[in-house]
């Protein structure tokens, strides 16, 4: 293993660049134990411009991971890795019925013997929201948190979370719904 590390001599400059980015990001973010540097941001989308009472609405959450970093799969390859997960706050207007996580990408690291499954770049999660049959027309905030633990090729950041927010507009059943964000929902798995 030590030889593997030593083989990286010629990568040193590139890694030094990564190290600088890591430190710069850390300084702009937070230190260990006080929130943690943020390397993931999220956006949430509904498949329609609004939702009807009693309907099951489709929700997609896009998590964007900073280049150079990866986060663990929802089902990590090794038991000591911290899984990525999303949790939603309870709402009187709707209930989150399911969350579907994509499969991670196998990645090989110098410090591990076998590849591990991780997320890189953009991660698309699909979720089904059951709108309460008694939900009154209006706008309801959907809030949650996307919990992750990020690493780059040589160091790890503390576990932290990114907020997830969306506005769910409930309209009377007589108002027709229009499809929205179709490009996103073509690739986000719901089941």
């Amino acid at each position: 293993m030590r030889n593997l590390i030593l083989k990286r001599v010629f990568k040193q400059r590139a890694l030094y660049g990564l190290a600088s980015a890591f430190v710069a990001l850390g300084v702009a973010g937070a230190a260990f134990g006080v929130g943690g540097p943020k390397v993931v941001s999220t956006r949430a989308f509904l498949a329609t411009d609004a939702a009807h009472p009693g309907q099951t609405a489709r929700l997609a959450v896009l998590a964007q991971i900073e280049p150079g970093y990866h986060i663990n799969d929802h089902k990590p390859s090794l038991d000591y890795l911290i899984p990525t997960k999303i949790e939603f706050d309870a709402s009187p207007a709707f209930k989150v019925e399911s969350v579907v996580y994509p499969h991670g990408r196998p990645m090989k690291f110098d410090f591990l013997d076998a590849p591990i499954s991780v997320y890189e770049g953009e991660v698309r999660l699909g979720s089904l929201l059951k709108i309460g049959s008694s939900a009154k027309p209006g706008s309801y905030a959907l809030r949650g948190k996307f919990t992750y633990q990020a690493c780059n090729d040589y160091a790890c950041l503390p576990p932290t979370s990114a907020p997830v927010e969306a506005l769910v507009r409930v309209v009377p059943s007589s108002v027709p719904l229009k499809p929205a964000n179709s490009e996103i929902f073509r690739t986000a798995k719901m089941k």
Partner: protein
């Protein structure tokens, strides 16, 4: 035609060999060894007292005269895990000469750490870390982060990220060779993971109501006034919070730290002359 190709191949081979020689001489080597701190002004390692997983007290003060490798790590951190066997070997090899490795785990709880300790046959004390300890050591931005403390109690090197054991070994040997209680003014750090700027904090700065700013010299009225001053200013980091709030929720924000320190200097000057 065939002879021409052979000659071209030989020529290219020579060019590559000469190129590699110069890359090695002028590019790789200077990146791996450098004087850590040109001024020789290495900060004193902040004192701390922790209890190891086996219940022993770890007071940094008791390690004076030894070379200490202080390693912040976690069981969920792959690069940290790969460094540990190297540390075990270093402790075996240099323990009798005065090396003492201390592991500080940033895991949430001790259970996985205990398990890891047994599995990896760790031969040096490991204690659970705290945010406060991290802040005393300038904020731990990522893991692993290791500090090399000389026999005189000063921090000579800080390595962030996976670091080859040979890097630590070279630095440890350099520090072990130094006489106790004498600064190593010509210490040369090794490796690309070394950071040049080693910052530490005092307990007064860490425990302050304005983290990072030692306000212990202010009387209660002045402190209240100073807090009010900081809560009327927006932090320039883009967080949308006031300087005071930003300091309190994100103590590593450099923008709010600089603002708060500058304001503190002005405040003290105007109030205490």
């Amino acid at each position: 035609m065939k002879k021409g190709k052979v000659l071209l191949g030989v020529f290219l081979g020579i060019v590559v060999a000469v190129g590699l020689f110069f890359v090695n001489k002028y590019w790789v080597t200077p990146a791996t060894t450098e004087v850590a701190n040109a001024s020789g002004n290495f900060p004193q390692a902040p004192e701390f007292s922790l209890t190891s997983l086996s219940g022993e007290k770890i007071n940094l003060q008791d390690y004076r005269g030894k070379v200490v490798l202080l390693d912040f790590w976690a069981t969920w951190c792959g690069p940290c895990r790969i460094e540990i066997p190297g540390f075990v070997q270093l402790q075996n090899k240099y323990g009798s000469q005065g090396l003492a490795i201390i592991g500080v785990s940033m895991d949430d709880g001790p259970e996985p750490v205990r398990q890891f300790y047994q599995t990896f046959h760790m031969n040096y004390p490991v204690a659970m870390g705290t945010d406060r300890l991290g802040e005393l050591y300038g904020g731990i931005l990522g893991l692993p982060t290791s500090f090399l403390i000389g026999r005189d109690g000063r921090i000579y090197a800080k390595h962030v990220g996976l670091t080859d054991p040979s890097v630590f070994e070279a630095e440890i040997k350099e520090l072990l060779a130094a006489p106790p209680d004498k600064a190593v003014t010509d210490f040369r750090t090794v490796g690309y993971t070394a950071t040049r700027d080693i910052q530490t904090s005092t307990p007064e700065e860490v425990n302050s109501v304005v983290p990072g700013v030692d306000v212990s010299k202010l009387n209660p009225e002045e402190l209240k006034e100073f807090e009010k001053l900081l809560s009327q200013q927006k932090c320039t980091c883009g967080c949308g919070l006031t300087v005071l709030k930003c300091r309190q929720v994100d103590s590593s924000c450099q923008a709010s730290l600089q603002q708060a320190r500058a304001d503190y200097a002005k405040f003290v000057e105007s109030h205490q002359g």
